[in-house]
Amino acid sequence: MSHAHSGKLHFTFDGKAFEGKPGDTLASALLRHGVHLTGRSFKYHRPRGIVGLGAEEPNALITVKRDSARVTPNLRATQIELYDGLVAVSQNRSPSLAFDVDAINDFLSPLLPAGFYNKTFMWPRAAWFKLYEPAIRKKAGLGEAPTRPDPDHYSQRFAHCDVLVVGAGPSGLAAALTAARSGARVIVCDEQNQLGGSLLHDPHASINGHPVSEGLKVSVEALQNAANVTVLTRTTAFGYFPHNLIGLAERLTDHEAHPNPHQPRERLWQVRAKEVVLATGAIERPLVFPGNDRPGILLAEAARGYANRYHTNVGRRAVVLAGSDAAYQSALDLHAAGIEIALIADVRDNPTNEPARKRAIAAGLAIEDHLTVLGTSGRLRVSSIQLGKVSDGRVRAHRRVRCDVVVMSGGFTPSVHLHSQSRGTLSFDSKLGAFIPKDSPERCRSAGSCAGVEGLKAQLNHGAQQGALAATACGFPIDAPAMEADTFEGSMVGFPGILPANGDLPPKKAFVDFQNDVTTRDLALARREGFESVEHIKRYTTTGMATDQGKTSNLNALAYIAKDRQMSIPEVGLTTFRMPYTPTTFGIFAGHARGDLFDPVRKTPSHDWAVNVGGVFEDVGMWKRTRFFPQGSEDMHQAVHRECLAVRREVGMFDASTLGKIEVVGPDAAEFLNRFYINNWSNLGVGKCRYGILCRDDGFVYDDGVIARLATDRFHVTTTTGGAARVFAMMEDYLQTEWTDLKVWITSTTEQWSVVAVQGPKARHVLEKLVTGIDISPSAFPHMSVGSGHIAGMPMMLFRVSFSGELGFEVNVPGRMGSALWEAIWEAGQEFGITPYGTEAMHVLRAEKGYIIVGQDTDGTMTPDDAGVAWAIGKQKKDFIGKRGLMRPLMSKPDRKQLVGLLTQDAQSVLEEGAQVTLEAGLTAPYPMVGHVTSSYFSPILNRSIALAVIKGGRAKMGETVFIPMPGRDIAATVVDPVFYDRQGVKING
């Protein structure tokens, strides 16, 4: 707030107030206050400090809280941009970082080796779910999930470009600038808040004769001003998907003290790039030695970064562990920043006088060779380091050096995560001692240090070349410019694996993977337990897993395993890198798909009317359908009871607009339907309807619906609500691939028509008041007729059909007239006591008549005969979809499950849908089951329970007693015909 322009940012860490400066990360601000201790380790709860500078940070995982709903765990302190008022808390400790009761795990660590959790807590099984798992989760968890709905807005977008450059360090910038000059569409992204990468902490560098700060400014402006370039900062390329689709997570507001609540917090970019240039840099490796995880021990390049970029000294007196020449450059920069260099301990086998080491010697820094580390001291911060001397392969104690910080460099590992995610192969660069990208099946190339290229000048030129190649490859030919650069720098080559030590077993507490608390002893144990494959070792020890993905640990683990087995690193092999590169929020993947935008909410014409009268809705696919219309204090049972009786005795109205509708037109329309549905359609007269059944080619029922013949060459097909899209797709599929000879075309008309079903003995009375242009008398318009006319002035297509078993009509009007139609029928029906009814009553009414619902009474394994609708099959037809499937012998076995009715012997006892059916009572599980209940209701008109069920050989069991086992009792029921009401069909023909 007011502090921001005074140049001070106030923040708290674990409740304690601190000050930082604009441009700080949480890590740089804490380090400036001497705070290294920022977390407790995952398994042993050991105190841990900041190790890195950016995404590679394995230890300092932090929760940032804005308010009770905005709580983000597992952020890296090195990536959290400071803002005024930031509230940060450490994780994985109780009650505090300095005193953690679970640190007892550290003393018990000999009892907690790799695989401990898997082995110890397996049995008894029930205890795993109730006891062990929740307790372990709480102890071992990484942060806590927020408990309230996320109030933030997450956006998503698609983008297309010629060249995507991932990473804007020296190589990425050179690639982007070169590609941009070609005229290609370029997107360049970087996970940091500004472009520049390692150049941001390399004040000695000059590019083409200009100081680095100036060169950087000019380059960034050139990119930002180019119309063909999109620059994305704070944007992590977290995943490489097939066909050059790259997922980018752009963080828009996390760095702001007062984010605009209307703006998205993050934005997911799905970028389809013709060519990708990966310039993802290299990550420095820690050294592996006993006690290497103590707070105050960090990477040399990170310490250099804090000094040069953030003007933060990580300590007063440093010991530099040089496993690479680059460590000397860090020592020089720390020395220049005012940190006392107590000693540079070179741990390499054969240190040579590379450039940085030469400068360190010239600067008079204390250097000793052939050293190793035997241990470190200091409870919550390193206070001294015990060094050993290596000679003739033996280690002997050398001396203890006091210090408040140890910086280490084991060399650099090219960051090949995205290349690996692209299914790219790697090759081992023996000079570098690391894997570098080889081939990728995708159109991607790596540039600069992630490709193993050393030295600023070489990296810039390599970047420019890869940028030029990428642009040229997508039709924008350009030559790479030659670039000049100079800086002080060391080589990336380093020391992989564990520092020399005596003894058969590796030393204790020499951590390979800080984040997953994996030591060299765990790796040794994995070998003793017989794990050979590096993928198995990864899973057994958890090294390289989870949010870290082995950024700092992979190569050290491989080098250790290789040495242990006397193999080469390439022989050991490398595990696969998984996405995301760094943790990504769930919100960014959900995007706008939340609340009432999670899915389309499809509303029917009667929707608003139903809302006004207090209708209760249910989801049917994406549709909101009224389930029942309660009056007064009615519950569902009472409302459905009333609605059902109204339809049976008076008249009801029902919104049937959701049924799928397909218009089938052409001279071959009848022939097409003959082939498609099981029924015969040739003999259906114009103006008539028929109930149709559709099978798949395996002979199982797929959909059903009434089909009307509007003209010789025009049919109106209805489908189930849920089946509309798949039936349409299946028709189109057959027309395009199987029956290209047929002159027939289909068009979806589901939403062209609004439909109100008017059902009940008085249905005709209601419609007679409204309908013109068509005679709807029983003789002129019998059951299963269709005709056109007008209703209340609206053009109408009228079907005389019934899914209730009563005299029934379905009135179709042009879609936008649906609510007017609903109102008109409601008005006209008042004098007949018309009752709106919902899907629940509709289900009861149809079950009383034994009408099936495809998908409820059928399950994808039922033939028309199983479902009791074999009568629909056109016996004279040569073929239809499913005919040959139905000819298989198993399809006509007498003991197939067949649809029957069930009447419980206690008429008031309503069965559970899905309950199993047995032939005997009093059985103990497991027992043979002969079928299951598919539909079950209380029938108001029959004043008793009814159910539909599928039972093996059910139609031969009419009158027999079966049992439905429920907890504590078996319910007896009698097998009956599935038509419970008006079996003669008197009412439907009324």
């Binding site: 109030p151 609540p261 609340g595 389309p600 249910e618 218009e663 075309w745």
Partner: protein, 177 residues
């Protein structure tokens, strides 16, 4: 009762969304038939039914949009009865009235393409998706017909019950314009 309480939609500012116009003006038909039928219909209607994929033709308020090799969306701004006009055709074909099936949502904005790229995976740059191009595609979970009328104007044809969803999504994305 409603079974699940919905998570709230995020807060939204008052936005001027008048650059999105919703209309069902005119009549709409799906014409299906082979090349010869399309040729004959073109002669009758005075607008060429496209033979080339992803193209459209308009003439005097009547537009024909290619949706598939044998499928054309006809839009008559003056609400002509095309069924009557095409009745005399000799080539077999299918003509189905879909005037009530869909809405036209027209987005006129300098960043119209940017708005649509939030949910449509296609490349909507002018080079890849020029004026006059049309396609049946996806916007998040909805099928749409997308038609570029001008550089900064797209017409989106969407089935009636999906339009609220689409408008709701655009209201969210519009805060980023």
């Amino acid at each position: 009762m409603a079974k699940h309480a919905h998570a709230p939609r995020v807060t939204q500012p008052e936005l001027d969304l008048s650059f999105i116009q919703k209309s069902h003006q005119g009549t709409r038909y799906i014409f299906r038939g082979d090349e010869a039928a399309k040729l004959e219909a073109s002669g009758v209607l005075g607008v060429s039914l496209p033979q080339q994929a992803l193209t459209s033709h308009s003439h005097q308020g009547l537009s024909a949009l290619w949706l598939g090799p044998d499928e054309v969306l006809l839009i008559s701004e003056s609400a002509e009865d095309l069924k009557a006009r095409l009745a005399p055709m000799s080539a077999v074909h299918s003509l189905v009235d879909v005037s009530h099936r869909q809405w036209a949502l027209t987005i006129s904005h300098p960043k119209a393409a940017w708005l649509l790229e939030a949910g449509c995976p296609l490349d909507l740059s002018l080079k890849a998706f020029p004026v006059g191009m049309c396609t049946r595609t996806q916007y998040e979970k909805t099928e749409i017909v997308l038609w570029r009328r001008r550089e900064d104007c797209f017409q989106v044809e969407v089935w009636r019950s999906f339009s609220e969803y689409l408008e709701g999504l655009w209201a969210q994305v519009a805060v980023e314009l």
